[in-house]
């Protein structure tokens, strides 16, 4: 969907993930170019993490369909041994929940060393040196000392930075960053995002940035895909999406950002209703919450291109 000249780093076609009868991801297609950062946003439970976990092949008890080519290699069809060799080296993930991503009984430094030696042919001593260097890069003070602490001895934001260091350890081609900075204060967040941006610009790493922070999306990403109830409902270049959002859900999303200068105790605008049961909807899944819904919405709208590289699935946009 981006320019035909650049071959995508990642090309996802018709990705489907079902847990039993519930389709958490329902046939989504998108791609990521080398050196591109794609933002993935949308309501809690809409399938963002599931999409990333499916690409990492880390979902058990799920039925998965579609294809995902990373540098031409189809990930979803690889056997476990082949996938293990790629995980961490070609595609790495920063997990949403740093608490569960770290082993509670292993010192944090050793966990990074583990990630390094799994894919790189280096000595433990060299790995230790690099691990300390990574800890310093993510802004951990006194990294030599912090190398040998356990996760519970670190703050929430420090654990998150260890998880980031692990994901970056082997310089993956594609990084799936699932809420990578939610536990960080804004100054440390700025520092981490700058680090990621450096890898994107200098190494051509591709990134899928999953986040609820639309300020981070605004500052970092090249394009944004908006998900609702398992489907991509809008996709466009970042400036374009913020300037002219077309899908009613995207409108609602942008409106519910709390503003710094809004009054205390003033209710924040929300999108009325809830996403629950949307996967059972026969027509447009957003229709029950949509102010613009009409008869046409009983038929599910497909994602179509309106304007250059601006895709939307809604019957009621021009």
């Amino acid at each position: 969907m981006t320019g035909e000249a650049s071959t995508p780093l990642l090309k996802v076609e018709n990705l489907l993930v079902a847990f039993g009868r519930a389709k958490a991801v329902d046939g989504i297609s998108f791609d990521v170019a080398p050196g591109e950062m794609l933002g993935l946003v949308g309501e809690s439970g809409c399938g963002k993490s599931t999409t990333a976990l499916a690409l990492m092949r880390l979902l058990r008890d799920a039925e998965i369909g579609g294809t995902a080519h990373l540098n031409g290699v189809e990930l979803l069809g690889l056997d476990e041994a082949a996938m293990r060799a790629r995980r961490g080296a070609d595609v790495a993930m920063i997990f949403q929940d740093p608490g569960t991503a770290l082993h509670p009984m292993i010192r944090v430094g050793d966990q990074i060393v583990e990630a390094l030696t799994a894919h790189l042919n280096i000595s433990r001593r060299e790995a230790r040196k690099r691990a300390i260097d990574l800890l310093r890069k993510v802004g951990i003070a006194a990294p030599e000392e912090r190398f040998s602490v356990y996760p519970h001895e670190m703050s929430g934001g420090m654990c998150q930075r260890v998880v980031i260091a692990m994901a970056m350890a082997c310089a993956p081609r594609l990084l799936l960053a699932d809420e990578p900075t939610t536990a960080l204060d804004v100054t440390v967040q700025a520092q981490i995002l700058e680090l990621l941006q450096g890898l994107v610009r200098e190494e051509g790493m591709g990134v899928i940035l999953i986040t609820h922070d639309l300020g981070v999306v605004a500052g970092m990403t090249d394009r944004v895909a908006v998900m609702y109830a398992g489907a991509i409902v809008e996709m466009a270049a970042t400036e374009e999406l913020f300037a002219t959002p077309l899908h009613p859900y995207t409108h609602g999303l942008l409106r519910s950002i709390p503003q710094l200068d809004s009054g205390w105790d003033e209710p924040v605008p929300t999108i009325p209703g809830s996403v629950q049961g949307a996967e059972l909807q026969t027509g447009c899944r957003f229709a029950p919450r949509c102010a613009k819904a009409s008869d046409a919405c009983r038929t599910p709208p497909a994602l179509r291109e309106i304007g250059e590289n601006h895709f939307v699935s809604c019957w009621n946009t021009p």
Binding site: S148, A218, L253, P258
Partner: protein, 318 residues
Amino acid sequence: MTEMLIEAKGLARHYLVGRHRVLRALDGVDLGVARGATLGLVGESGSGKSTLGRTLVGLQKPSLGQVLFEGKDTATPEPSFMARLRRERQIIFQDPSGALNPRMTIGATVMEHLRVQGWSRADAQSQAAAAIEQAGLATSFLSRYPHEISGGQRQRAVIARAISTDPAFIVADEPVSALDVSIRAQIMNLLHQLQRERGLTMLFISHDLSVVAHMCSDVAVMHLGRIVERAPRAALFKTPRHPYTGALLSAIPIPDPVRERQRMRIILKGEVPNPANKPSGCSFHTRCPRATELCHRVDPPLRSIGTEHQIACHHPLE
């Protein structure tokens, strides 16, 4: 004088790192929260916010100093006061999945919490259902396990548990950072409603300053185990006086790609101080653009400037 529901006096919490080094996660904190108020707590990752929260609700013992509840020392309470303290002080943990037992359903988790506080089986059951609905989830979620629901849904389950005992004081440690903007707005509105209807008192820890601006009447800023600034919301956001607060506010991402990519951040340069080996004088001086020789030598105490504004700085911003 308004009555303080909960108060920290000279609170310190020390951790042993390695064999001999002492890390002062809290280093003399004086802080009160008036009944019915919501105090925001912001600050650098690792500055001691969660430690302060855990100590205020009695999950950790202070190394030095006291926690007062309704003016009474909580260190050696008589049995009836102890039971009240357990019911009246609750915490919403920073890490939603670490806070839930993976082998228990959401319903069992909330029920167990209530049963420990002496609720009968039948009452606990209906109370758990009420709490889960108040947190914005359908009661069908009571029978789900934590891994079967999304990150945002887990966070709401944690909120349901905390509000189920109808507490007077809640420490909310990053309660909305895992939520998308729309559900975040719903949870913020819910917490506001609890404030209004039940007179709930809160310590609200968050890295998201627009959320803090919205939720809190007062804001305290922490840096390396100390409170370095405290002021009413409007004063803190409009005229921050501590240079650390200034840097923090300058780094808030703006959800507008055009403005976000043009604005100026105050970037903190210099060594991140090691909390186990704090610099002499002011703990911010290694990175402070205004630091002078005085700041290297003398640690500035928290002092009042104006009626409700306090800072710990030799050279405050104008």
